[in-house]
């Protein structure tokens, strides 16, 4: 299954900009969740609006994104998300 070849991770944030509780926000303070999918080729992350009261993420409300390609950028230093927004493949992921 193609899903066998993907690893997911996620990380919560209280705000768009770093602040004192960005590392370990309490549930009630979580406003954004960063969801990542990884394949052997890339890591793609969207930071989306999160509602802690009902544990839901709004994938139509994307605050920021990251996209790194393993072959050209193994250390994940060059986020090409914004440059790739018009790319057909990225659009289909979103």
């Amino acid at each position: 299954s193609p899903l066998d070849l993907v690893a997911y991770s996620q990380y919560p944030r209280p705000a768009v900009f770093p602040q004192w509780n960005s590392d370990k926000p309490y549930l009630k303070d979580i406003k954004i969740m960063g969801y990542s999918i990884r394949t052997v080729d890339y890591r793609f992350t969207v930071w989306v609006k999160f509602h802690p009261e009902n544990f839901t993420a709004d994938f139509t409300n994307v605050q920021a994104g990251e996209l790194y390609f393993v072959a050209s950028d193994p250390l994940q230093d060059h986020n090409v998300y914004n440059r790739s927004l018009n790319d057909l493949k990225l659009s289909s992921m979103l």
Binding site: L5, P18, V80
Partner: protein
């Protein structure tokens, strides 16, 4: 139950800074020896790079969105669902299950009981010296004691004259001795504390890593195109006395280069100290003639950024924060059975410069998640593999969100071991 025993070793904040993962600097001969007799997953990832959510996730086989634990402040059975855990499943199938050290994150997230009695047959063990980890036990240049980040200690000089991971090893060995002649198989989980901060380790390990040999992260700058929300300001290390003294600006201020070297030196020294504890534990398994009957799994709750992207913590989605070591030793499968008189895991001192260089073991490059541990260990133990969860599984007590990865072990492609056949 008549399956093999399981020794589950989970480390705190260990990225794959190990010889068996290609790190030339780090001295980890005992873990490398285990790797050489194991299947080693090169691309294994945690589901969230912080302790409690990650541990609850892999111990229940559910993602954080299903455990509804993203912080440290709730118990999944109360908030999300009455999900079974790996040890609970083994316990219900006739295993004696035991917890030593930090397996579950302590506190509310495991009901202040490490999920006892659901998960464990006997009360979990915690080292008595855990309580000193964040206290002032680091001797400064002024001769006084401080709560530093970098904290090499003279073990004879610290409270109770020992350290938490040493106590955990001793207790785990005691339990192995007790289980040796029992009729029931055991599931022993051992959770080591290091290399989690503070870097409080026996000072002799610092000598393994002369400062002049310590390199910096290859990409110590915060990437220009990194969205601010993706950056973590590593607040916990800023609270340590030695870091506070550096007056680093929040949130982006860089750590002075020489101190970066010291952090990396002490992280690596902590890994080598951890390696000795793992070595002593595996030696005991050998000495008690249990290495032919015990599956060993070794992993970590998540990684840690050692300066990459200007970060010094977990708390992110970067690979350095989420990638973990993951290896499985399956006697008779990943390595031949041990013949009488042979040793599978002799202890190796990291101070022995002539120590053997191990082959890296069987490498598996498939992308896998820590979530797979539940189904994988069940399969390896010969238990029925829990079903894969439907898309919503809050009402289902027993299922997992990731399939077993035993299919990647490629057992069928290996040579049959004559001794095991016999």
């Amino acid at each position: 139950a008549d399956g093999p025993n399981v020794l589950f070793v989970v480390v705190d904040d260990l990225r794959p800074a190990l010889g068996s993962y290609g790190d030339d600097l780090v001295k980890s001969p005992n873990i490398d020896q285990l790797a050489s007799r194991s299947v080693v997953f090169q691309n294994a990832f945690a589901q969230q790079a912080v302790c409690a959510p990650s541990r609850v996730s892999f111990l229940t086989g559910r993602r954080p969105d299903t455990t509804r634990l993203y912080d440290f402040n709730s118990y999944w059975r109360a908030r999300a669902g009455n999900y079974s855990t790996i040890p609970q499943y083994f316990k219900e199938h006739g295993y004696v299950t035991m917890s030593v050290g930090k397996v579950f994150h302590p506190g509310i997230s495991s009901n202040h009981s490490d999920d006892s009695p659901y998960s464990w047959s006997i009360p979990p063990f915690h080292p008595s010296t855990e309580k000193y980890e964040n206290t002032k036990t680091c001797r400064g240049k002024d001769g006084k004691l401080h709560a530093n980040l970098i904290c090499p200690v003279d073990v004879a000089d610290v409270p109770e004259g020992t350290l938490p991971d040493k106590q955990s090893t001793e207790e785990a060995v005691r339990l192995l001795e007790r289980m040796r002649n029992q009729n029931s198989p055991f599931f022993l989980a051992v959770g080591y504390h290091k290399p989690h901060i503070p870097f409080r380790y026996p000072k002799e390990f610092q000598k393994l890593y002369p400062l002049e040999n310590i390199t910096l992260a290859p990409d110590p700058q915060i990437p220009i195109e990194l969205p601010p929300v993706a950056y973590n300001p590593w607040m916990d290390i800023r609270q340590r006395e030695d870091v506070q003294a550096l007056n680093i600006s929040v949130p982006y201020g860089p750590i002075p280069v020489e101190f970066q070297r010291k952090i990396r030196q002490s992280y690596f020294a902590s890994v080598s100290y951890l390696d000795t504890q793992v070595g002593l534990l595996l030696k005991a398994l050998d000495d008690l003639q249990l290495s032919n009957d015990t599956v060993v799994v070794f992993t970590s709750d998540h990684g840690w950024s050692l300066g990459e992207h200007g970060e010094w913590a977990k708390y992110s989605n970067f690979d350095v924060a989420t990638r973990v070591p993951l290896m499985f030793y399956v006697p008779g499968k990943t390595a031949p059975f041990v013949h009488p008189g042979e040793k599978r895991f002799p202890y190796i001192s990291p101070f022995d410069s002539l120590s053997e260089v191990f082959s890296p073991g069987v490498q598996a490059t498939e992308l896998v998640e820590l979530l797979c541990l539940f189904s994988t260990l069940s399969e390896l133990a010969g238990l029925k593999v829990p079903p894969v969860c439907p898309s919503s599984s809050f009402h289902i007590d027993l299922c997992t969100e990731a399939p077993s990865i035993v299919k990647y072990f490629n057992f069928s492609e290996r040579e049959e071991d004559g001794y095991s056949e016999g």
